[in-house]
């Protein structure tokens, strides 16, 4: 045994392990895309129209950007605390509202410089995230319950922020519009760039997160805290801080998603930005092969999960399933994917195979 261990190079086994976890999510995504091609032959067709890339696949990646960003944040939250942050959708709406309100509705200038407004939105997300983090990490309130507070309040605050002057008084609950073209570039295209900006942002965000997780020990800390908080404390990890970090990070990612979403519609729609996104984000994490019980996680898995979900929605739209009925198909596909990924299914599968082999052997 000793020999075996020395002879098996670590790197190889590491790669094998990650491959194993990612194999099924990737497989599911590919299957999803394959079905799409069968239904819509032009699915993979990408053309350049009006100076930008155009096609179903581009739509999926573009529309999926916010989901990817949210899924990344959600992954860390789930890994460190074994619970989900259900406030991400509402926080996105809130951050979007902050950004739009600061930018103002003028046709020829911003009320606040754009970068500053975006920064403010991210700070708003960060504040919400740290509020959640404080409740979960410090006060030890169960994640879903703690985040339920902002889940309810977030849109209320967003509406409060979305105030506009009507006949002399500020009336909240309005949809505010940004009239400056340059703001739309965040959710659209930069001049002479063929790739949608959200895709850039999402890729950059994933890369930075990945970099942080692999170049510092935070990834290891998160896993440790997610698996055994007490043990983590005794080996010198401040679990409160780690969880706090994860929730705050998730808040920032919600803020970023909110900025993109509001830039797409260049307005602050407190009611609809990020609506039900928390569910999709949690689903992405699960479809990526991650356990919702916390502990080990794969960031890339979640990204693939997010793409799978977006591909699913886009293709259901493409087939012409009505919006109300989409959930039925979504449910079935999701259950199939997670069932195939489950340990138990693998066990059954191998049992069946063994059985067959045994039968064959008898027959021979």
């Amino acid at each position: 045994m000793q020999k075996q261990l020395i002879s098996s190079p670590l790197v190889v086994s590491l790669k094998a392990a990650t491959k194993k976890q990612l194999f099924l999510p990737i497989f599911a995504l590919c299957l999803m895309l394959l079905i799409n091609v069968l239904i819509t032959p032009s699915f993979f067709k990408i053309s350049i129209q009006n100076g930008v890339l155009y096609g179903y696949t581009i739509d999926i990646i573009n529309r999926g950007s916010e989901l990817i960003i949210l899924a990344v944040g959600m992954t860390l939250v789930v890994a460190s605390s074994g619970g989900a942050d259900i406030s991400v959708g509402a926080v996105s709406a809130l951050a979007g509202a902050v950004c739009v309100r600061l930018l103002g509705a003028s046709y020829d200038s911003y009320a606040t410089p754009m970068l500053l407004a975006i920064l403010a939105a991210l700070v708003a997300g960060l504040a919400c995230g740290s509020f959640n983090g404080f409740l979960v990490a410090k006060l030890k309130i169960q994640p879903m319950v703690a985040t339920l507070i902002l889940f309810t309040a977030g849109r209320g605050i967003a509406q409060l922020i979305s105030a506009r002057e009507i006949n002399g008084n500020m009336v909240p609950g309005q949809i505010l519009y940004v009239r400056m073209e340059s703001f739309r570039r965040i959710g659209g295209f930069f001049p002479n760039v063929v790739i949608p900006t959200p895709v850039f942002i999402a890729v950059l965000f994933v890369l930075i997160t990945y970099f942080v997780l692999t170049k510092t020990a935070i990834g290891l800390y998160i896993k440790t805290v997610g698996i055994n908080r007490k043990a983590g404390r005794l080996v010198g990890i401040n679990s409160v801080l780690v969880m706090f970090f994860c929730y705050t990070f998730c808040g920032v990612s919600s803020g970023l998603a909110g900025v993109i979403a509001s830039s797409r519609i260049y307005s602050s729609d407190a009611n609809n930005i990020g609506l039900y996104m928390e569910l999709d984000a949690i689903l992405s994490v699960a479809l990526g092969g991650n356990s919702l019980g916390g502990g080990k996680f794969s960031l890339i898995g979640s990204v693939i999960g997010a793409l799978t979900i977006q591909a699913l929605s886009t293709s259901l739209y493409a087939v012409g399933v009505t919006a109300d009925q989409i959930p039925v198909y979504k449910a079935i596909v999701v259950i199939l994917i997670v069932a195939i990924q489950s340990e138990e299914f693998k066990r059954w599968w191998s049992l069946i195979r063994l059985h067959r082999q045994a039968k064959k052997a008898v027959a021979v």
């Binding site: 790197v11 020990a217 290891l220 440790t224 043990a231």
Partner: protein, 506 residues
């Protein structure tokens, strides 16, 4: 076949990913027999038991029970219980959230005619059963989690003993018990034996084997070494069979350079009136560099609490601690670690093992935390450290990337020990480090402790085994009811003197 055989296992094979845990193992048990199952850590003892009780599915093999002509395969512990096999598993496997009484009776509560649980009767019966194993006035309505590991262990035993069975399996039940409780357990076992129950007993304490067992089966690396009557296998031979080679006896070991240490200038740690409300009364303690100090006392006397207070695992609310000449105001373990302490806690499952992480990650985590979050140890370095200590501690694992939860209990303990050695602390607290560790390794660990002390590390050693302590420590600190009751210098102590000091009737 012999009429009195109640359990036969034949040609049992069991494979885990990367490990052949059992290889054609045979086992049989007679009526009224106490049968010791022996072997090193990772020999396959627990696996054999789990295969028998349906926790694991074996690859191949046959199991027969008396009174049933056909082969029996238990698909679940429930089925095993119904087939008359009652088990105490190695790690305490009870539910901390429900009451003690419920833990004893869950799944078999006394019911009224309308199938309603009779709470009063259940509590009363639980109380009686617990008394029979020596737990007087325990509040059986309190959640089990409120009690210490030892008590939980006794509750688990009480539960198993109470289940009407033909076969009783005890997988290292004594690892967290003190002598008094062990005695109680033995008397219960003897009673059951008289009733004709066959008992499988796993332990790493050789004396206990010779005290109660009739018969020994030895496993090594998943292979059956043999089955022996107790009389034909003296201690030395047993150890040799377990290890597969001869073995220099423990008695030869002794930490000899004890006295020369107690001079003031080499004091490394000094606690003045340190205490933590509710667990340990304020105490004074001075420890010199290179010393091995033992903590001794009865169950629940506060040994762990004292250690935890020193390490700031429970932030002490009274007194002061001077460590390496500075006033250490540690709020959290990390502060103590940075100052140069290490702490191997008592409850492996709850407080040490990070079950879903690999052996490597489990080993380097403490050093990583000490180094700081932004200075990730390079993978090569992590690997090097892990391999070094896997070798040094002789940890049985297919690879450093194996998940630590897949190791046997004893090997998990070694991983944790390795975790702290990697941080190279000045002062290392070991709370029951040898729990569940086989004789061979135990000696290794004791030797290691002495060696580390000689090389300048200061060690606090807590163990329920007095002999082990006497062999390794320079000084013994006696605790009673959360109070530091006195100190004994280990010049020529024997166990009787220590026992007397613990009991408090000098």
């Amino acid at each position: 076949m012999d009429d009195s055989v109640i359990l036969t296992m034949k040609q049992i094979n069991m494979t885990f990913p990367g490990v052949k845990a059992l290889n054609n193992v045979d086992f049989s048990l007679k009526r009224g027999e106490i049968h010791a199952l022996m072997g090193e850590n990772g020999a396959g003892k627990s696996t054999l038991i789990k295969v028998l009780t349906g926790v694991h599915t074996m690859d191949s093999g046959e199991i027969y029970l008396q009174g049933q002509d056909t082969m029996v395969i238990n698909h679940s512990p429930k089925e095993a219980q119904e087939n008359g096999i009652s088990t105490v598993y190695q790690e305490v496997n009870l539910c901390p959230n429900i009451s003690v009484a419920e833990n004893v009776f869950v799944g078999r509560q006394p019911l009224t005619r309308f199938r309603a649980v009779k709470w009063k009767e259940m509590n009363a019966r639980a109380k009686k059963i617990l008394q029979s194993v020596g737990l007087q006035d325990l509040d059986v309505t309190k959640p089990l989690g409120d009690y210490s590991v030892a008590i939980q262990q006794m509750v688990a035993i009480a539960r198993a003993v109470d289940i009407q069975c033909k076969v009783l399996i005890l997988d290292e039940p004594t690892s967290s018990l003190d002598e008094h409780e062990v005695e109680k357990l033995f008397s219960v076992m003897r009673k059951l034996k008289e009733k004709g129950v066959g008992i499988i007993f796993v332990t790493h304490f050789l004396e206990q084997v010779y005290e109660v067992c009739d018969c020994i089966t030895v496993l090594r690396n998943g292979d059956l070494v043999g089955r022996y009557a107790i009389s034909e296998l003296p201690r030395v031979k047993l150890v040799a069979k377990m290890l597969g080679h001869d073995f220099n006896d423990l008695a030869s070991l002794r930490n000899l350079d004890a006295k020369k240490l107690n001079n003031e200038e080499s004091v490394i740690l000094k606690a003045v009136g340190l205490g933590h409300a509710g667990t340990i009364h304020p105490f004074d303690l001075t420890i010199s560099k290179g010393e091995v100090i033992g903590l001794t006392g009865l169950l629940g006397s506060g040994r762990s609490e004292l250690a935890r207070a020193l390490y700031a695992a429970d932030h002490p609310d009274k007194g002061a601690l001077h460590f390496k000449g500075i006033h250490l105001k540690a709020k959290d373990p990390i502060d103590s670690m940075k100052a140069g302490m290490g702490f191997l806690p008592e409850d492996r499952k709850e407080e040490s093992i990070i079950s879903d992480l690999s052996v490597r990650e489990n080993m380097v985590i403490a050093l990583q935390a000490k180094t700081g979050i932004f200075k990730l140890l390079p993978l090569a370095k992590q690997n090097e450290l892990a391999l070094q200590f896997i070798k040094a501690l002789n940890i049985k694992t297919p690879s450093p990337e194996t998940l630590v939860k897949q190791l046997s209990g004893g090997n998990q303990q070694k991983v944790i020990l390795g975790r702290w050695l990697i941080t190279n602390p000045d002062f290392l607290i070991l709370d029951e480090p040898t729990r569940g560790i086989d004789v061979g390794t135990k000696t290794e660990i004791q030797k290691l402790i002495i060696k580390l002390a000689q090389s300048g590390m200061t060690i606090m050693f807590i163990s329920s085994e007095i002999d082990e302590m006497l062999r390794t420590v320079n000084r013994l600190c006696v605790l009673r009811d959360g109070l530091k009751a006195g100190e004994l210098v280990n010049d020529n102590l024997d166990r009787h003197q220590v026992m007397a000091a613990i009991a408090g009737d000098q």
